[in-house]
């Protein structure tokens, strides 16, 4: 159990490649925090800095208020799991799991009991225990690396895309396991992933990274519902948030977001000057669509329909503006038909067009 604090951590590879750019974040104890972002965003480097596998070019790392920046990995009492299962190929599954316990010279009986617990926890098949790790399937080997990582209490558990290489069935199984275990043992877990679904499934708190920078760090619900930046709004969700360029204006005593062919009435927003260039953001699943005319709703044309799994994605066009709305597959909408859409005000988010940051 430990909290982790990164203070102005920067990592520059070579002379010019800034992998992590002045990152400050506090990871509270007993939480599952996901570092989320596309390939190359610096999430793995951040995790490696916490682990001690990389030394930050500048900035400090603290575990439980102790400055560990210059401590080697093995002195930090952490464990790690990687995308590719790291197991001792020539040892049996049992020996692999027991290894960290043996290193502590624990008595044989105690080791046996603990391995038994872990085998049950990760649903490792009993018949696999005496099999050499190299003969097992990838997903079974990953179960063993996880059991190995959780064998003895650590300050922090670091998991780097541990499920990315698995088949969908094992991935779902192990997602359930990891979440259950973290809830049960209540430890600090840092989980790196590029998959927003995985982050929203597992994390108490999500740190969204992009080009080495920390864009948003908040509880999972907030990152999804109140993105601080258009990138975050786009990256989470399938498809991501819609953005419509607009200008804040007043007309006939009303306050409007003027997007040319679309005008959206909005309440008074303090500190927002008339003429300010904005982007209106709304998630596809939050747009209401009707086949019949409704007062105050926006008339538009459905130009394209796409099936996503058991949902329907509509491309709705007004003038030169296109937004995507995700609706039930039962809705009998066809292409090139007039429909009406509504943006419920509780789901509308505003962003500055230049900085791409949210306006509160």
């Amino acid at each position: 159990m430990a909290k982790v604090f990164l203070k102005n951590a920067t990592k520059i590879f070579g002379k010019t490649v800034v992998a992590v750019n002045n990152l400050t974040m506090q990871i509270p104890e007993n939480e599952l925090v996901c570092l989320l972002g596309p390939s190359g965003c610096g999430k793995t480097t951040t995790m490696r800095i916490i682990a001690g596998l990389e030394t930050p070019t500048s900035g400090r790392v603290y575990i439980n208020d102790q400055d560990v920046t210059d401590l080697p990995p093995k002195k930090r009492n952490i464990s790690m799991v990687f995308q590719l299962p790291a197991v001792y190929e020539t040892l049996t599954a049992y020996e692999n799991i027991a290894f960290p316990l043996r290193c502590q010279n624990q008595p044989r009986e105690k080791i046996k009991k603990r391995v038994g617990e872990l085998v049950e926890l990760f649903e490792i098949r009993k018949e696999d225990l005496e099999t050499k790790a190299m003969r097992l399937a990838v997903s079974d080997r990953q179960r063993i690396s996880l059991a190995h990582a959780f064998a003895i209490p650590r300050n922090v558990y670091l998991l780097d895309e541990p499920l990315s290489n698995l088949d969908p069935k094992s991935r779902t199984d192990l997602r359930i396991k990891i979440k259950q275990i973290q809830k049960r043992i209540g430890e600090t877990l840092i989980y790196v992933t590029h998959d927003q679904s995985e982050a929203l499934t597992l994390a108490d708190r999500i740190a969204v990274m992009h080009e080495g920078k920390l864009l948003q760090y908040d509880v999972a619900e907030n990152v999804y519902s109140n993105p601080t930046n258009t990138f975050v709004g786009w990256f989470l969700g399938n498809p991501g948030m819609n953005f419509v360029d607009c200008v804040y204006i007043r007309r006939d005593g009303k306050r409007l977001l003027d997007a040319g062919s679309l005008k959206y009435e909005i309440g008074d927003i303090k500190g927002l000057d008339e003429g300010r260039e904005l982007m209106l953001g709304i998630r596809p699943e939050n747009i209401d669509v009707s086949q019949t005319k409704k007062e105050g709703w926006i008339p538009c044309e459905c130009t394209y329909t796409e099936v996503i799994g058991n949902r329907l994605l509509l491309h709705l066009q007004v003038g030169d503006i296109v937004v995507k709305a995700k609706v039930s597959a039962d809705l009998p909408v066809s292409e090139n038909k007039r429909v009406w859409m509504n943006f419920p005000s509780e789901y509308v988010r505003l962003f500055d067009r230049k900085t791409k940051n949210t306006i509160s």
């Binding site: 390939s39 359930i176 590029h194 498809p239 058991n310 949902r311």
Partner: protein
Amino acid sequence: MPEIRLKNINKTIEGKEILKNISLRIEDGLFTCILGPPGAGKTTLLKIIAGLESLATGEVYFGEEDITDLSPQMRDISMVFQDFALYPHLLVYENIASPLKAKRMPKKEIRKKVKEVASFLGIDRLLDRIPKQLSGGEMQRVAIARAMIKEPKVYLLDEILVNLDYKIREEMRSELKGIAKKMGRTIIYATPDPLDVLSMADRVVVLHKGIIEQKGSTKEVYTHPKNIVVGGYFGFPEMNLVDCVLKRKNNKLFITTDELTIDISEFKEKLKERKEKEVILGVRPENMNIATEAVQKRGNNLVKGEVVLGEVIGSDTIVHVKIGKDKIKIFVPRIYRVPIGEKIWLHFNTRDIYLFNRQTGECILG
């Protein structure tokens, strides 16, 4: 453009039967998915169409023409593989141009065609890079561009989205569907992922252990699976399946499990010829709901369970629920963060159920 017909195809590789008596008509100009788990024989089937696998028995027709013995180069077909297979040392431009160079087309013409295809796929700005400098999605587009430049009548795509990051995969699905629509060519796409089929395909062929279990329009096969192999596999998330017993009592019809009894007398007529008692109840996750209080009060078709995990997929949530020994999935069309261990009531409509014979797997209702 002609249709493709496969007639009585058998294929054995190293003593293992990969495809068993496959006969199939692939309609011209449509997007057809070959859906099946790993090892079903999907890739082998594509390779046979491409001419990359020889045949001991069976025939392949392109329209009226028997092309069984025609070499791959002579078939008007392009195949794109899962691992892209780009030339790592060549520029993107050269990668795309390679099939035309092999045909010794004049340079000027090649340049024109590469530019056209690249702009069609939105990769014109990448032409001077080498594959290493591209993202997964970009590499995939280059591979598609290289296939397109030959202007084949038929495209064979083998699990081409599997290796991409989640977000890019989602975008590529929508893009690929758009590209297919614009080109109007025949596309045969092999995949283990039902979402690919639901999102892109006009037609689906469900392949399982070398046998075609069912073929037809995507909607038809989804709504009316012939058997439990198709019903259980083709869906996202997969259909919930629970062992049940069919009972007749007082002129009424019930299915019962340890946890609940459901009155399905509405299907009495439909099922009156059926003799089996042991059945499997199938309910798709999108047809299950978390019961509101009002529904709970009515009290029909309700079953209590414990939440195992709320798994977010895109902007939807699959709630995994434990009911007795069974594990059930519910599809919730929004982000729904439900605490682990929470007790919830589940509800479904009998009109949405499927029943399968437990011995034969045949679909008897749905």
